[in-house]
């Protein structure tokens, strides 16, 4: 997945018409013989190329931007694009440090002349309450967790999920409050207690609950969340959105990925080769991803 611009440029500027024609004739996946006597570019291949160039552009822009502006823009775009993208809001609000999230809120003011909370009012769905609470958080980041409170709050969540109406979870004031105000250390302790007390993880119990599950994972087990996103991106039949997620995660989590090494090898190779993939080599071999 990627574009090697340097090679592309050097090859194309050094080619003459003959050379280019033999290139076209040799790439049966990209060019097809048209009945009117020329090698026509296959439509679907153009689309793929476009996506690849876009992803490269996104990677460059995302990398260059100040993290605050980057995160503000990610959030704004996600709000605009709708429910399928709300996980990006959760991801940004929950996996950044408290000060980074604060910075994103400031950048949002400068860029969009509104607060994030205001723009979230455009969301009509029930996710709004949770999302507003998550982006407004300024979590304590020190150590020191009250284990008793963590345990009792694990119970509150358990009851909300198992005894209450699962459809009403997003409206459960206490659950949202716990997830949106407690420190990450506290929530991780809560996660452990939940597991010990109920023989399953909080994430498992939230299977199918969309952004609630994303929220819990991002706060308590971020590597699980990111691994899931990355693996979806490199699957054979991954859609364009999933592939874009790859760029986003790799750029925003680069230090974490390289440091923690919790990334499957497949992705590590791609991470290293992001700017080295030879599109032309792919053309020559007739193999495009």
């Amino acid at each position: 997945i990627g574009v090697d611009e340097k090679s592309l440029i050097s090859i194309l500027t050094n080619s003459n018409e003959e050379h280019k024609r033999s290139l076209r004739k040799g790439s049966s996946k990209l060019f097809i013989e048209d009945e009117n006597g020329f090698e026509r570019w296959d439509q679907s291949s153009i689309k793929i190329l476009k996506h690849q160039f876009n992803r490269f552009r996104d990677a460059v822009v995302l990398s260059l931007l100040h993290p605050w502006e980057r995160d503000a823009r990610l959030i704004e775009k996600a709000i605009r694009k709708g429910p399928k993208h709300y996980n990006v809001i959760v991801e940004t609000a929950c996996t950044r440090s408290s000060d980074q999230l604060l910075g994103a809120r400031k950048a949002y003011h400068s860029l969009f002349h509104h607060s994030i909370e205001e723009h979230l009012t455009h969301i009509k769905g029930r996710e709004r309450k949770l999302l507003v609470a998550l982006v407004s958080a300024y979590r304590y980041e020190g150590t020191g967790v009250n284990e008793d409170v963590a345990k009792s709050e694990a119970q509150i969540l358990y009851e909300a999920i198992n005894n209450g109406d699962k459809n009403k979870l997003l409206d459960h004031e206490d659950a949202i409050m716990i997830l949106a105000t407690r420190s990450k250390q506290h929530l991780q302790a809560l996660y452990r207690h939940y597991n010990q007390s109920y023989d399953k993880t909080l994430a498992q119990d939230l299977e199918g609950e969309g952004i609630l599950k994303d929220t819990v994972e991002c706060l308590c087990t971020p590597q699980t969340y990111f691994t899931r996103v990355l693996e979806a991106a490199v699957k054979e039949d991954a859609d364009e959105e999933s592939k874009r997620a790859l760029t986003r995660v790799i750029v925003t989590q680069k230090e974490q990925l390289v440091k923690e090494g919790f990334v499957p090898n497949k992705i590590q190779d791609i991470l290293l080769g992001l700017n080295k993939d030879f599109m032309l080599a792919s053309i020559a071999s007739g193999d495009i991803k």
């Binding site: 300024y138 020190g142 004031e173 409050m177 105000t181």
Partner: protein, 316 residues
């Protein structure tokens, strides 16, 4: 406009520290000296004094003051000596520990500070209490009060002057509907008050009055005993005309049998460097008596003297 006055030539920080140290030494305390110094230094200068005092004498100035002073005067000095962000954190923390009247203090801090001042208070809260302000507010308030206060203390409002008049119309209508249905703690009401910029809220409320005839606060007076409604009305005041809010707090604090020193101390301390002049003007307009005269009438001793110093009173 601030009322705090700082001398044109300020003594050096070490001189100030030395004088303060002298004020504590020997029998009794020289309160006048404390008032002369601390009562005429701004936040930055006070921070420097505290830092230097600790470095020079190995003791926190606040601890020394705590030992030497008592009662209302001590409370005023200690609150005043703090950095505004720390002060707000302390006031907020106290408010989460007591009963309903302190919901008002939480709302006051959330709504009358600038977006960045509220942020600094939240940061100071982390440092001082090892928790987040939102956690404590969430866990010490309930029901409708929590529903309103949590978003208020978590807000980071846009501070520009831009206003969307169409939106103001829509939201004025929305508020009017909810109020007519007595749905005072409805999600939308809370959302408008807790997320919109102050300029936008102002436009919305102007439109409300134009369109429906009454100030929104008049319509929110349906039940005079309802405490949530009272908090809602105060929230509106704090957001669009804080000086009127503070004038009322002062008026109630001073005119009561006895005086509510807590409120008086809090308002003077937190506004002396911000807009106490405007509040005092409003006070005079509303009560036909200058604020300083009311303070003289109702308080005495060192407490009175420091209040007057902070309120910019000049001896005749």
């Amino acid at each position: 406009m601030a009322t705090l006055t700082v001398p044109t030539t300020v003594p050096s920080v070490s001189e100030d520290c030395e004088q303060l140290r002298k004020a504590f030494s020997g029998w009794g305390t020289n309160e006048g000296l404390i008032i002369d110094i601390l009562g005429h230094r701004n936040a930055e200068q006070r921070n420097l004094i505290r830092k230097t005092y600790a470095e020079t004498y190995g003791e926190d100035l606040l601890k020394a003051l705590d030992k030497e002073l008592s009662n209302d005067f001590e409370r005023l000095v200690l609150l005043w000596a703090l950095d505004p962000a720390e002060r707000d954190a302390l006031l907020a923390n106290e408010a989460t520990k007591r009963w309903t009247s302190s919901n008002q203090v939480l709302m006051e801090i959330a709504c009358t500070r600038s977006a960045n001042q509220l942020l600094h208070a939240r940061q100071a809260y982390h440092a001082r209490y090892k928790k987040s302000l939102e956690e404590d507010v969430a866990h010490h308030t309930t029901g409708d009060f929590r529903k309103l206060l949590l978003p208020l203390v978590s807000s980071y409002r846009y501070e520009g002057e831009e206003v969307n008049m169409t939106l103001a119309k829509t939201e004025a209508k929305l508020l009017h509907e909810k109020i007519s249905d007595k749905a005072y703690s409805d999600d939308d009401v809370i959302r408008v008050l807790a997320t919109r910029s102050k300029a936008q809220i102002n436009a919305t409320l102007n439109h409300y009055k134009n369109e429906y005839g009454n100030d929104i606060n008049k319509d929110l007076k349906a039940d005079p005993k309802d405490e949530f409604l009272a908090l809602l009305r105060s929230t509106v005041k704090c957001l669009v005309y804080p000086e009127k809010y503070f004038e009322k707090v002062l008026r109630l604090a001073i005119n009561r049998r006895g005086t509510d020193e807590g409120a008086l101390t809090r308002v003077v301390c937190t506004r002396a460097e911000v807009d106490l002049k405007i509040i005092a003007d409003e006070y005079q307009r509303r009560n036909s008596v200058p604020l300083t005269r009311a303070i003289v009438k109702d308080t005495h001793g060192d407490y009175e003297n420091l209040l007057l110093a902070l309120a910019g009173h000049v001896e005749n």
